[in-house]
Subunit: 252 residues, 2 copies
């Protein structure tokens, strides 16, 4: 393997990239619009029934079943059977990460219907990104955390300051990952709608969990979109000085 001359390959017609992991296989799974829409909803972090996913994708249960089987087979999803129901969710954070990174290079969708534009607005406003908060609200919170110096974006990485640690503690956010006894990780995640970073990683997840627990935010049944409750609006104003109403600058 240690050579001083350039290694000339090929000669036979054999494909020279055969040794790479086969991306096309996974991509083919995501390539189908029905499956993609299921995956996007599941990227919200929820676990959903086969029938719900069928309705969301706009296909019959038979077709959905076939799709879901394939995705479970290739370890994109996991199933849990409870009685006659089957609950599906994303198989791992890696899958979520791959899906999220695809959204950053996906063509922005042109609006067709009024409904769709409303949905788009809701998504851009606030949505869950697997286990943390994204969209305008997610970015606004992150920005505030940086202004308050709870987080410092340094060299493309988030660092949690001492001020931040006590601040998050006051808020009731669990800073210890109990299973591994390690401190929370704050990872920057590029927001496809805002084109700015929001907090992901275990800190991002803990923060989102806390917001759900406080009932500041709520999931919507079959979307990634998240709604801000009146409680949340007050809480965000009180704790972070964020005026949720002002946020909604209807920038398309």
């Amino acid at each position: 393997m240690i050579v001083d001359d350039i290694l000339i390959v090929d000669a036979t017609g054999e494909k020279t990239v055969g040794a790479n992991p086969d991306i096309s296989d996974v991509a083919a799974l995501i390539a189908d619009p029905s499956r993609a829409s299921m995956l996007m909803v599941l990227l919200g972090g929820q676990t959903l029934l086969a029938s719900e996913l069928a309705r969301i994708a706009g296909i019959t249960p038979q077709t959905a079943s076939s799709h879901l089987a394939k995705m479970v087979d290739r370890h994109l999803l996991t199933v849990e059977s409870r009685g006659r129901h089957r609950y599906f969710r994303l198989a791992s954070p890696e899958v979520a990460h791959a899906l999220e990174s695809l959204t950053t290079i996906a063509a922005p969708l042109k609006v067709r219907s009024l409904r769709q534009s409303d949905q788009a607005k809701a998504l851009r406003f606030a949505r869950s990104c697997y286990d943390h908060l994204a969209g305008e609200v997610g970015v606004a919170v992150t920005t505030k955390l940086m202004k308050r110096q709870w987080l410092i974006l340094e060299e493309g990485n988030f660092t949690i300051t001492d001020v931040g640690i006590s601040g998050f503690a006051d808020l009731g956010v669990n800073m210890l990952d109990l299973s591994s006894r390690r401190r929370a990780v704050a990872r920057p995640c590029l927001d496809w709608s805002e084109r700015r970073h929001h907090v992901a990683g275990s800190l991002g997840a803990a923060l989102a969990t806390r917001f759900f627990d406080l009932e500041w935010i709520r999931r919507t049944p079959s979307t990634r979109a998240v709604t801000i409750t009146a409680k949340g609006s007050a809480g965000l104003r009180q704790y972070f000085g964020i005026q949720v109403e002002d946020l909604r600058a209807d920038t398309p």
Copy 2:
């Protein structure tokens, strides 16, 4: 958008996820084996000719041309025409990132031929990952950097220490990103073959560039694989105490 009750959607048969960016579209591009193999080679960071890509993918120039046009169209690739030649490369780091993240969830390839297994070994040993170094060598270097405390892996992020700054300077690695005047970013990137992190980001890129300049490593014409020169073997031993020959523990 601020509500206190759960918003019930749907009713019509319309797809409820229409507002998400269309992932399936991009995924469909990657889903084709010929296109995927082209992308994987280009993930090596090189710029290649249409004819080279055709040969690599094992298809005729006509077919390749059609594929390449689609990928340029959808902004996965960029072209540069020089005379009758057309040079293709990945369009952006985002594309590289998306491809890399797909490899982490792609099914590991089972070996077919001896050639392929040799290629797989070469790839696992050392390869370029868009702009930085990956594989056993990449991970070994990263590990050494951490042991020497040039880098600290903290909360899932790399921090460059003062020791590291002077160390990299000694090595001739450019720590200033001249265009933006910001210090280099060390981003952890999960290695699909080693399942451990190696250094990416602008520091990773600068390091790899330096290795190429020093002629420690060399690209192979139509693969992502990288070879270590005799110079490189000596240099890695001298500067980092890495025994390249020992590294090659033929773990499948």
